[in-house]
Amino acid sequence: EAGVAQSPRYKIIEKRQSVAFWCNPISGHATLYWYQQILGQGPKLLIQFQNNGVVDDSQLPKDRFSAERLKGVDSTLKIQPAKLEDSAVYLCASSLGRLRAQYFGPGTRLLVL
């Protein structure tokens, strides 16, 4: 069974630039999550999708972050414009449901200069 795929693995940008991350969840997983993991901390949920609908985006900085999940499968997370404090690892995860085990992708390490 293929795992959660993410790209790119690394990205370096300058502040005020834009960046996009892509995630392909495990086939059949209805629930998809984007987390932000700052160095030395646990992952923090940014947004949760159930199929192609948003369940929770309460911690997503909506003035600069956006996310979509087209057709309930792949998802993209965008930051525009990026700030220095956005430097982090962005993790995508998927699960069969909210209470089921989450399977994580390898993450995208973002450095904003």
Binding site: Q41, G42, L45, R98, L99, A101, Y103, F104, G105
Partner: protein, 115 residues
């Protein structure tokens, strides 16, 4: 709001020895799940073990077991016969069954297994 606290930022253990990682949580919920996730260096996070709060029996998964103390809101992870491959960040996480609250992670404990 639920919070998860891991009071040990770093720990080390000799290969083949046993180590226990601590986790406490704060919640007013009575029904919830608890998890331990492992994040090896430069590798993806994987689930180690899960505990349902309504179960009194502690979960066990091969060399990994938990000590779940519901009244004390404590959920420690014991790793027996530690192996070099156990070197990783370990995160404790909590999710309430009610509502749509997300999985909440602690800050993690960095475990180093020494040969």
């Amino acid at each position: 709001a639920q919070t998860v606290t891991q009071s040990q930022p770093e720990m080390s253990v000799q290969e083949a020895e046993t180590v226990t990682l601590s986790c406490t949580y704060d919640t007013s919920e009575s029904n919830y799940y608890l998890f331990w996730y492992k994040q090896p260096p430069s590798r993806q996070m994987i689930l180690v073990i899960r505990q349902e709060a309504y179960k009194q029996q502690n979960a066990t998964e091969n060399r990994f077991s938990v000590n779940f103390q519901k009244a004390a809101k404590s959920f420690s992870l014991k790793i027996s016969d530690s192996q070099l491959g156990d070197t990783a960040m370990y995160f404790c996480a909590f999710i309430a069954l009610s509502g749509n609250t997300p999985l909440v992670f602690g800050k993690g404990t960095r475990l180093s297994v020494i040969a």
